[in-house]
Symmetry: C2
Subunit: 198 residues, 2 copies
């Protein structure tokens, strides 16, 4: 949980992301973050002079980077990468977590958007950047699988949208049904978008 190898600053960013995705931005207190990271409370104002907005913003940037990096790892793990296979891997990551760790935590970017889109502009912008850092690698991966360039971006947006929505529904229902459904129903459309060379 509190990995001492990483510095206290990075630990707090990581902990903020974890608490946000569980309880939302508003319900996550600065003191909670410090305690969860096993970091001194006084370090908060030292490392994050911009206050809560800065901490939340960095947590979202971290989450976006993490999600984007995972995409490449999913592709590397597949024998013959297909769009439907990539989407299945993205979905499986969530079904695995829900089934092993429960439905308490969702996506931190979605949580921050829902909590702050109408109030804190900098956080909202950080959420948009995080989505971009996630959707971009997905679109590039699709293009690498033979999806025409002009369709890779829209399909990536569709994949992330469906996944985010299914995450929310799964948490409400406490059942991975919605995740399994979107993976199954979307696969033909995704795989059908590949243009075979030769």
């Amino acid at each position: 949980m509190a990995d001492a190898r990483r510095g206290p600053r990075e630990r707090m960013v990581f902990s903020a992301a974890q608490l946000i995705r569980r309880d939302g931005v508003t319900a996550t207190g600065m003191r909670d973050v410090a305690a969860h990271a096993q970091a001194p409370r006084g370090s908060l104002q030292h490392y994050f002079p911009g206050g809560k907005e800065q901490l939340v913003g960095e947590a979202l940037a971290w989450a976006g980077r993490y999600a984007g990096d995972r995409v490449a790892r999913f592709c590397a793990g597949m024998a013959e990468p297909t769009p439907g296979g990539l989407f299945a891997a993205m979905v499986r990551q969530w079904t695995d977590e829900f089934e092993s760790a429960g439905f308490a935590a969702g996506c931190p970017v979605a949580a921050a958007t829902v909590d702050c889109a109408g109030s804190a502009a900098p956080v909202r912008a950080a959420a948009a950047d995080a989505f971009a850092a996630w959707t971009g690698p997905v679109a590039r991966a699709l293009a690498g699988m033979g999806v025409p360039a002009e369709r890779a971006g829209p399909l990536a947006t569709l994949m992330v949208s469906a996944l985010e929505g299914a995450i929310v529904i799964a948490r409400a229902e406490q059942d991975v049904r919605a995740l399994a459904t979107v993976a199954r129903e979307l696969a033909p459309l995704l795989d059908g978008s590949v243009v075979r060379a030769g």
Copy 2:
């Protein structure tokens, strides 16, 4: 805003839904709800002895009912109903609101799920019911358009998932791009699921 025709109780439920979808559950105070509904603060404990959980639960039930009822109205407004057309109408409702009223407010059910799934079980259950009250009519509408019974439910879940996710992304980006994308990309899949009679 504060429709005097409806009683103060119903006004508070309505106001709660509006404030929740804008600021989230945690950031929405009981005093705010009473003020927004132009209802006396003392009425809160009178009409909602179950406290905030009851108020939020009723707001979600109202939202779910409202979304479900809209589906029938969308179908009635279409000359020849198709799955893609229904989804386009559901999406358009949101693009219209975002473009006219800004991106401050999203879906109250998603907001409550993100805020409470890990903490308040009754609210989480109310969110699940609200999703069911929304997805059910969508599935029945699909079935009425010629979609095989065993596919109507899953496709309805896919539609709601994609819409919810696109709403979140649109709010983060302050752009209806994601909504337009999911409507366009999903239409062929939806319309292709119709089995022609004869």
